[in-house]
Amino acid sequence: MDGLFTLIVSYLRQLARQSVHVYRKDMLVEWRSPSRFLGVLFFAFALIFMVAFASNTTDVMRRQAGGSIWIGLLLASTRSLDQSFAAEMEHGALEGQVLWPVAPPAIFFGKAFANASILFVVGLVLTPFALALFDVTPRGSLLELGAFLFFGSTALAAPGTLLTAITSQARGSSVLLPLLMFPLVVPILMAAAKGTSLVLLPDVMDQSTAWLVALIVFNVIHWPLSALLFGPVVEGGTH
């Protein structure tokens, strides 16, 4: 029993170590090619602008602010996921990692967390801009707003990373990813948008915390499940 315990602990430590290295590598790639990140950022900005143009009154805009931010982040996430896997597929680096002594869940955790980080940063830059544009003064705490951005980003990144690993190996990936991803992230989008709106607008019944808990629960479900499925997906050609 003790032996098994040590074995599990050493496996988890190795998994954590490898995940950190995958994460560092991904962030380094992002850091060395800032134009990709800026592209995603301006894509999100443009979307927010379009939403603003399409809404007819300031009052409607104000109430839609939370939802608009998350629509912008969701669409931006499909761009950034696509790009992050394009870098992997360009010279077969993803296959290289599979053939390297790296546990597939570690590849998943590293990449998914890198994607979540990028999304979180986009959210951090985008939100003040959106608030100014929609003329909203947040009523709730900024810390809670940040928590929604963080857990919303991680919740989107987990299934997004798994599905991009699938679609980047298929033809016509740019159409397939939204097709598979959007139905899956309905609850995440809803919790994030609803919660963010409650932080921005007067939250008389203090419901925002419940939505934050919901987002964390989605994370707890999606991260391990996607990590388990990632191995077979990246080794798909080998079966």
Partner: protein, 214 residues
Amino acid sequence: MADSPPGLVIDDLARRYGRRWAVARISFQVAPGVACQVTGPNGSGKSTLLRCIATALRPHHGAARLDGKDIWAWRRTMRRDIAFLSHDSRLYEDLSAKDNLQSWARLGGYSANVDALIERVGLDPKRDDPVRMFSAGMRRRLALSIALMKQPKLLLLDEPFAALDPQGRALVIDVIREICATNAVVLMATHHPEEAAAACDQHVRLESGRQVVA
């Protein structure tokens, strides 16, 4: 199953794509410390054979064994000691040569001397340039240095001479001899049998997926 001799044993290996058998009925052995070259026209199944041995593809029939162990069944541990230089360079365009090597070393937990490796493949002056600026031959050299990092027991080279200048080809021959000296197995697919003969003692020829028995 009869117990396998040490080194690489290919036992009636076959792999298909869709309805087509890319390779079938391949059987040969390579003893430790020996380099073997695989030749054959384009599309004869050289790459498929190497990819099967490298655990990038599961054989649909038969097996490849290294020191008596089925490579596919033991792939999780075997991957630590099998190095594979494929057509894909496994490089990240935006990272420098050094960053690329360092990332791969950290990922696999290999304590490699990255600077020495870069020097070994002759990319010393370019170590901090992004791979985007590299020529095909330089990428090939860098990919080779990634494979060398593993200090492999089995080195698989898929057309290592491609895009390389004469010095580069001499480097590959040098590397093969060096790896063989560590009692490892080297298997390379190539279109240059004369050049490869300088380092290879064994020869397997494929034609449309079948082994040509000499």
